[in-house]
């Protein structure tokens, strides 16, 4: 443990390094991509690895010393300049972001090369920019800086998901409209806070707000910030953009964006409710908890029922994501310690589960070239390791111990009972049952149905209209790697190892969830909340 502290004393700039490395690497990747097709991947992978290691050191440092790390950008102290704050919560989310981005990236080397041929530089660069945007959103202590980084993450996200199937540009354009409304509402909220307090620093605003609890400007700032964030996190009436945007895009992008975007937005919501506005203001002064929990309940029911109706595996996952947003928002607005612990724990767990499911989708698609559920017939015989990992992820989404999904759901349900929100508990149990039906149906198909030979003429990325000229050579290459001549034909090791690592993480997160709650999450929640 002291090893990490020693490194930190040598590198006091670690809070900057964790975000500057992907930024600088994205520039190098974009430039080198003009001359060489292999180097952008290496640069990007190295940068993501450095970020990943930095986030491990940071969280060790924070957990060990219990001190909040403050880093002054440009050397200016808090209200004048921009500071980065690494506390228990942001260190945890940083670890989630960097590890998910790194694992998803290294597992998709081949997919990037085939799907974004001749544009690897730009794609890898945007991947890194998206990651650094999320890292910055998590670590920043400045309300306006948060907006800028949110826009970096959004813009690079639009580009990453805009290049997929034929329908993705339209889906992405609709996402862009809603995303812009959301971000602009957030900016407007920051403006209202600025007009009332004269400050942009989150800690500074938080120290001023208690003196003006009854101000209507502050109230409206809260409303409009939350409205913006709710659009961005796709809660029930505002969810329309998510399923199309995430299911039509390429797997590399889906594996990055689907697990992280909604979770980081929920983290921002928690940050705003707990740090910017005090819990006193959010839970006691404003009487919105009841309303938000009901919104969450409707979201859970809606997401689960819609997921039941989907034939396409990725679309089904998208509706499950919407339902999970309901879990976290509802759990947070239960307003008691157990519920908020559950919500934060579920951010981590759900990011891991969604990552595992989308990585599995990537492997299936690489293997079969199809997206429908029926394409998974007989997969257990063909790819035992992949299916083992997939089973773990599925069990975790359903909430079977000892996988991590069980433990966060346990906290959420206990919180629901403690708060007397029995409808929320019912929604959670209903959603678990629906997930059980969904995933056991897939597992059944994969286990019992005979394997079906797939028609390789319809491999999805051939429909890529911008890359038509590569049709022929590309097709042959793909065919070589996916010829079915043996009995067991696993995914390539570079895809399989990260996937198995994530699946094992699901169990480890489950087994150590008590430790995570005791050592990290307990410090996050203010003592005022019981």
């Amino acid at each position: 443990m002291t090893f990490f502290t020693t490194i930190f004393t040598f590198l006091p700039d670690l809070p900057a390094i964790i975000i500057i490395t992907p930024l600088l690497a994205s520039l190098l990747a974009a430039a080198s991509g003009l001359f060489n097709r292999k180097t952008p991947f290496l640069i990007a992978a190295a940068a993501l690895f450095i970020s990943f290691i930095s986030s491990i050191i940071l969280i060790m440092q924070v957990v060990e010393t219990g001190i909040v790390i403050e880093y002054r950008m440009a050397g200016w102290a808090a209200p004048m300049g921009i500071v980065y704050i690494i506390d228990h919560l942001s260190a945890l989310i940083l670890l989630v972001i960097t590890s998910a981005a790194f694992l998803n990236f290294i597992s998709n080397r081949k997919n990037i090369e085939t799907e974004f041929r001749n544009k690897e530089g730009a794609f890898n660069s945007l991947y890194l920019l998206f990651t650094s945007g999320l890292i910055g959103m998590t670590a920043t202590g400045d309300a306006f800086n948060l907006y800028v980084l949110m826009e970096i993450a959004s813009l690079s996200g639009y580009a990453l998901i805009g290049l997929g199937s034929n329908r993705s540009p339209l889906a992405t354009l609709n996402y862009l409209f809603l995303g812009t409304i959301g971000a602009t509402f957030y900016l407007l909220g920051v403006g209202y806070l600025y007009i009332a307090t004269g400050s942009l620093n989150i800690a500074d605003i938080a120290s001023i707000i208690p003196t003006m609890m009854n101000s209507s400007i502050i109230l409206f700032a809260f409303i409009i910030c939350m409205a913006g964030l709710l659009i961005k996190m796709a809660i029930f009436p505002l969810h329309g953009w998510l399923p199309n945007a995430y299911s039509d895009c390429s797997n590399v992008s889906a594996g990055l964006i689907a697990p992280l975007t909604t979770k980081v937005t929920i983290y921002i919501m928690i940050r705003i409710c707990l740090t910017l506005f005090s819990p006193e203001y959010t839970f006691n002064y404003l009487k919105i908890s009841e309303f938000m929990v009901w919104l969450a309940i409707i979201t859970i029911f809606f997401g689960s029922l819609s997921a039941l109706a989907q034939k396409d595996y990725k679309r089904m996952l998208c509706y499950i994501i919407i339902a999970e947003v309901g879990y976290m928002v509802g759990g947070f607005f239960l307003g008691n310690r157990i519920g908020i612990s559950g919500a934060i724990l579920h951010i981590v767990n759900d990011a891991a589960m969604t990552l595992a499911l989308f990585m599995a989708a990537g492997i299936f698609l690489w293997k079969t070239g199809e997206d429908s559920r029926d394409s998974l017939k007989g997969m257990f015989g063909k790819m035992p390791f992949t299916m083992a990992g997939f089973t773990l992820a599925a069990l975790s989404v359903v909430g079977v111990p000892p996988t991590c999904g069980f433990f966060s759901k346990w906290y959420l349900i206990s919180g629901g009972i403690a708060a007397g929100q029995y409808m929320f508990v019912a929604a959670l149990i209903f959603s678990s049952l629906v997930n059980a039906v969904l995933f056991f149906r897939i597992l059944e198909i994969a286990h019992f149905e005979p394997f079906k030979e797939h028609n390789h003429d319809h491999v999805y990325h051939h429909s890529h209209n911008t890359l038509l000229h590569h049709h022929q050579d590309h097709h042959d290459e793909h065919y070589e790697t996916t010829k079915h001549n043996g009995v067991v034909k696993e995914a390539p090791l570079e895809m399989l190892i990260p996937f198995i690592a994530v699946s094992i993480m699901l169990v480890i997160l489950g087994l150590y969830s008590g430790t995570i709650v005791a050592n990290i999450i307990d410090f996050v929640i203010p003592a005022a909340i019981i």
Binding site: L24, A30, A74, V148, A196
Partner: protein, 274 residues
Amino acid sequence: MKTLGQITVLFCGGLLLFFTSDFPDFGDANSPASLHLSPYFIENTLKDTAVPNVVTAILADYRGYDTMFETTVILTAGLACFLLLRIPKREVKSRYYLHEPTGVTLRFEGDKYPQKSDVFKRIDSNWVPYDLIINFTCRLLIHFIQIFALYVVAHGHYSPGGGFQGGVVLGASVILFAISGNLRAAIKRFGEKTAALFSAAGVFIYAGTGALCMMIGEHFLNYNFLSPLLGTDRIMARSHGIFIVEIGVAVTVMAVMIWIYYNLSSAGKQDEGL
């Protein structure tokens, strides 16, 4: 959809109008916004950074970290347009050539195009004959626009201006050239690879300066620590540091504006276009 839109707009608008009543009056010098942070900036900028233009100083120094990501947003947009739109030249289906001695326009399909010659001249499909007035005026203007752009970049410390404004004007001069002539002529002078390299290089100048400060001293973008390199005292080092990053911003903004224009005007073909 229409009624839904009207209801949403009336509801939101009513709510927003209602809450304006508690705002401090327009021009009120005693509003919280004018009393909390801004007096510090106005009264101390000269002491801290030796830059009279407070907006420039806040932009590139106090909140310089924000501005770095602002430049990155521009780069992101350039990369996004490239990734979404760019298609290789081979997919262009037909080309138009003007046979100059006779003035006949010919359309070629497939791969058989005339070799480079004095007789055939490649033209756009929506080609208009050479216009003396437009060409002459633009040729005359472009130099002055570019010199003015450099003035705007360099004079950001003392007057309204700086990297973004200067960069946009610089980019506009190249776009004006592309509009007055054709896209191919502009690409011949300022190629796509150049645009891509410049747009990455500008952010690199900015972030690299920051990283250099971090390596020499302790904080990212803390220009104080550049003073041994620049041979000035710590306050002037801030002023010079601001100028260096403004140049980075101008380079990125110029290159990305041109890059986006190339991709948008030709729908990614970069062959024909406005």
